[in-house]
Symmetry: C2
Subunit: 325 residues, 2 copies
């Protein structure tokens, strides 16, 4: 199969292994950390797959790099594009710079300075637009027309899903016999990739997703088996505000055991607890799975548990416990 | 040799390897992390040995555990004691709880709540005293007399030095051919241990120490070859306020290539930079070596460099860039 073929099909076991091989030279094999105090407190064995130590500080580097490496050379040459103000924008800019092409990033004009700077630093070419979804989409259309670049969606793309699946694949390789893997869910790229990797490579392992109460569209969609969009969610977990996609939702319905939700307060408490106990910087979205454990929504007692820590991009001058205390 | 013998002699290569073997079941083999952005910025290869991920959040766990495991059983039974408000107090409490004995900790009455709680959490038995060195020493004497416990000095003890040396030993094992290893210096336990490990196990490697300008007693002592005490130093790097010891100073004179000093401002800048770039929580003392690189005091260009990150115990509600900005 040529490289472009992985775009069209639901990733199977072979596609996931191929994605891992392809991106391996470029990404970090992130460490899996444990904490004996946490294990004692929760009478469990919890393994944290630390994608906050990934390139660009988030798992998004995996999917973006895999998408680029899956494209035909003549397409790569014209560049890639997306509308995003988050980690996907940084990841795509980084991946494009590695393979030597352009990343055109459409960002809302009210994006934080820190996010704009991060995209610039990785060489992304930014076009600003009004801060509405409609403006983002029409501006991206113009950019695509003007440049001939290929749009890379942040999650609704099998190449991206296969790339994100490699984090769980590494976790499973390193820690066998996990009873449970917990991942946060936003658009579902990480969750569907995680669920596929667990399905193919770890028998007897359940996948549970955790989501903010205030952005519970995946919870509603999953339980009603009908797509619910995410409408103006207000959560500190800024990576989890998006709706599920047409490709991620069916995978989640088929391979995820349950979805639980957590309060904003728990997210901040869990985030600070993991900073203090584990000495790792993680962003609010990454704290959502552990918040579910703290809230008692997921029982990890005596269950060997993996948690995907999704990223560590935070603004250190605006930490949530500063304003919330 | 019986376990108590390692107390009396300058650790040789064999003593260091034995220390590593002895403490291995109890401590974390901490990860060595790198950051491609930092390497690009400084045209170097820098390997961070992350003792912030060590038990109790600092390298001190190594020395404390080794000291306890080196004691004769009848001495261990009566417990250990120290006066400390810092990581050594936590480390000794932790190590004592592991081997099943008491740690008696003398702490000044003005110690921060967070430090008192940490010692309590690890099971240390605290005696408070007036916040003067004299009160600390006389209170410790009373505790020693009343309990029969053995004093474990935070650094001026060959068992402690041998324990601390194992961090550099692991770094050297994992990253061969380092040209340079940089460690912070306070009392010199970590630095002398690092220097010995490098001396015995890594030929052609220089050891450089970094110290705050505002607590430059080791710098003065080293350059004059005469002991200078640390007198009421005011530095944010609270782990580096102590004076060198009679055992650590000669090792440092013999095996350390140079000592450089850095400003308070650089320490805060370096600390924040490493948090942002590497997503690791490190305490101010840990940022001092990198501050020296940022200040141009240590040239790492094209030199394969190791840095010992000493610990990660910080008060998250009082971060230095909050008050300094």
């Amino acid at each position: 199969m040529g490289p472009a073929d992985t775009l069209l099909l639901l990733p199977d076991a072979e596609a996931i292994l191929r994605a891992a091989d392809r991106i391996r030279p470029y990404i970090n094999r992130t460490p899996v950390l444990t904490c004996s105090t946490i294990d004692k407190t929760y009478q469990s064995q919890i393994y944290f797959k630390c994608e906050n130590f990934q390139k660009v500080g988030a798992f998004k580097a995996r999917g973006a790099m895999h998408a680029l490496l899956s494209m035909a050379p003549d397409r790569i040459r014209k560049g890639v594009a997306t509308h995003s103000s988050g980690n996907h924008a940084q990841a795509l800019s980084w991946a494009a710079s590695i393979v030597g092409t352009d990343a055109f990033i459409v960002m809302p004009s009210n994006s934080s300075r820190i996010k704009v700077d991060a995209v610039k630093e990785y060489g992304g070419k930014i076009t600003f637009c009004e801060p509405t979804l409609r403006a983002r989409e029409t501006t991206l259309d113009t950019v695509l027309r003007d440049t001939g670049a290929t749009e890379i969606h942040p999650y609704n793309d099998y190449r991206i899903i296969a790339g994100q699946s490699t984090a769980a694949l590494e976790l499973i390789e390193e820690v066998p016999d996990l009873e449970l893997v917990i991942a946060p869910v936003g658009g579902g790229g990480l969750l569907s990739g995680t669920a596929l990797a667990v399905h193919y490579f770890s028998s007897g392992t359940s996948v549970i997703a955790a989501e903010p109460d205030q952005a519970n569209d995946a919870f509603l969609s999953y339980n009603s088996r009908q797509f619910h969009p995410s409408v103006n969610p207000e959560t500190i977990a800024d990576g989890l505000r998006t709706s599920l996609g047409s490709l991620t939702f069916p995978i989640i319905l088929e391979h995820v055991t349950s979805i639980v939700t957590v309060s904003e307060k728990s997210i901040v408490t869990a985030m600070r607890y993991l900073w203090e106990r584990m000495k790792i910087l993680i962003e609010p979205s990454s704290a959502v799975p552990f918040a579910a454990i703290m809230e008692g929504k997921i029982d990890v007692t005596s269950r060997k548990t993996g948690i995907i820590i999704s990223g560590g991009n935070v603004d250190l001058s605006d930490l949530p416990w500063m304003s919330h205390e």
